[in-house]
Amino acid sequence: MSVHTLTVDGVEVAVPAGASLLDAVRAAGADLPTLCHLDGLTPVGACRLCLVELEGSGRLQPACATAAAEGMAVLTQTPQLQEWRRMAVELFFAEGNHVCAFCVANGNCELQDVAVAVGMDHSRFPYQYPNRRVDASHPQFAIDHHRCILCTRCVRVCDEIEGAHVWDVANRGAECSIIAGLDQPWGEVAACTSCGKCVDVCPTGAIFRKDDTTAEKEAHRERPQLLRAARDQHQWLNQ
């Protein structure tokens, strides 16, 4: 197996060919905030939190969706990157209606964790207070679009692992939203197997079990990786 050698913030690492820059960063013992990325799902580079700088190119690249190459010199923590990451998180908060106080995911929310990690204490952008929907038509689950950050993990897990493709993305810009089926109420989409994988992977409280109340959501974000390992490598982790 061929190996690429590169540096991450000056630390030399070797990763197998095909590895992403995010893999290389982790191999170097560093870490980057991520929201759309989830091990086990295809990377899409949607949230832009894992942007890194490649020395000499001046271009920013999403580490999750960029292949590591021989001789790259990756910078992950420049002041400018830190500033942009914080700005990106502030924009997530300003764009939706994220009220932690009574949210089902309070205390178990990746958006909350990322805000802490990037040092966000307020949003410098005006809150948009969009008027979005809550779809609670499914007997077990509900989706609250106010809390959706369009990471598309639900779309990918349903398509790539469950094979049902209930979820997709509709419209553009500020109107962009996750839809069920052909933009139907979730409960009416016959393709849904009620497996709950979208609940497991959702980074926020956007998709949740209906009988969970404030701060009760238990996410299982490790499951796609376990399922993929079982399917592709026949490694059954019965833990």
Partner: protein, 486 residues
Amino acid sequence: MTRTITIDPVTRIEGHAKITLHLDEAGRLADARFHVVEYRGFETFCEGRPFTEMAGITARICGICPVSHLLAAAKTGDKLLAVQPPPAARKLRRMLNLAQLCQSHALSFFHLSSPDFLLGWESDPARRNVFGLMAADPDLARAGIRLRQFGQQVLELLGGRKIHSAWAVPGGVRTPLSAEARAWILERLPEAKATVTTALELYKKLLDGPLQREQSTFGDFPSLFMGLVAADGGWECIEGAIRFIDSQGRIVADGLSEDDYASYLGEAVESWSYLKFPYYKPLGYPEGIYRVGPLARLNVCDRIGTPWADAELAEFRQRSGTAESNGRIVTSSFAFHHARLVEIVACLEGIEQLVADDSLMTDRIRARADLNANEAVGVSEAPRGTLFHHYRVDDDGLITRVNLIIATGQNNLAMNRTVAQIAREFISEPVAEGAEIPEPLLNRVEAGIRCFDPCLSCSTHAAGQMPLHIELVDAGGRLLAERVRD
């Protein structure tokens, strides 16, 4: 020329309000009004949310009594699921409410109201607060603060946090009583009991002496009283049914369900206050005036059910009960203070009984079900009185309509009448144009409101540092004179 004197804001209460005193042409007091000048709109922004969030959202209405909303919301949720919470969950909810009543009453008595009668109505207003009390009687102030801490700590031991816990949920509660919580409560109960013993002794001495005039003039008038009572007529704080009793001690209505509240409670609106004026419908507005809260709960119940509290209840009635009711009913709003102390006794005895109950340590504490009803009303006894939550939901469980009937609102008519009565007693002479009204007198008018411990929002000015703003205004709204206390 008629004039208006304004006290704005009213201090040492929870929320924002002002009082206006209206003088007639001769400078005599014509009327007094208690205005609530804040607006929050919770009922509207709950629309569209899943009903499972209502406990979390409505608890945020208040930082002093979030538990009351939590319990009312959870009980409404029980009915939307059409389930009966397991017995242990019902007992645990009761324990939570007892701790809540204890901490809130301790706050009202020691932090907010006692500076008036322990330091004196005439004392320096800058020191007539809990800090002044600390300087004058540090042991009592510390004991009062620790009594409130006891209640707050029980809330945290049960619900995971002191304020805005989301522990009570539709169908039950989240966690049982832990061994650690039981041990802590047993250790601290004797101190809490000793504090309330001291406070009762002190308060009764004041009642026998310097507070006699206040007892007879701070909102002493006939009215109905409303509260929950247990099936056997005993004192109740979370289950049971609604009872109305009148000033003669006659039970006007009994066994009423919260589901039918709209049939016996009306809500009137006045243009000068954001707080509605609920009234007992069969008697109309404003004749259907009724009071809720500690005084009302002690008036509606036949007994409390624990030995010390029952002895205190008997003494309370013997000391302050009216002759017309053969000592059965206490009509002075000033007796809210005494009633709070009696209720703290009831809470401590109630907690003592529950903490010894092994069945509270079970894991069977939550009934789960799908949505089974589209409309429900839940009720709990908040520290300030009976609290109703009424939700309508669509078939997916999303809220379409919310109505909250808050305890303080139900005392609105009584608070207005209290303010007018105090003002008439202490402003008996005509007020000459441009004359200043002495501060201790205005403080008594404010203190009339403090008897009810109104909770107007989650904002609190417990330190008593808010300025007092008095205005003399003529009938045309022209400002004639002004006085500001910083």
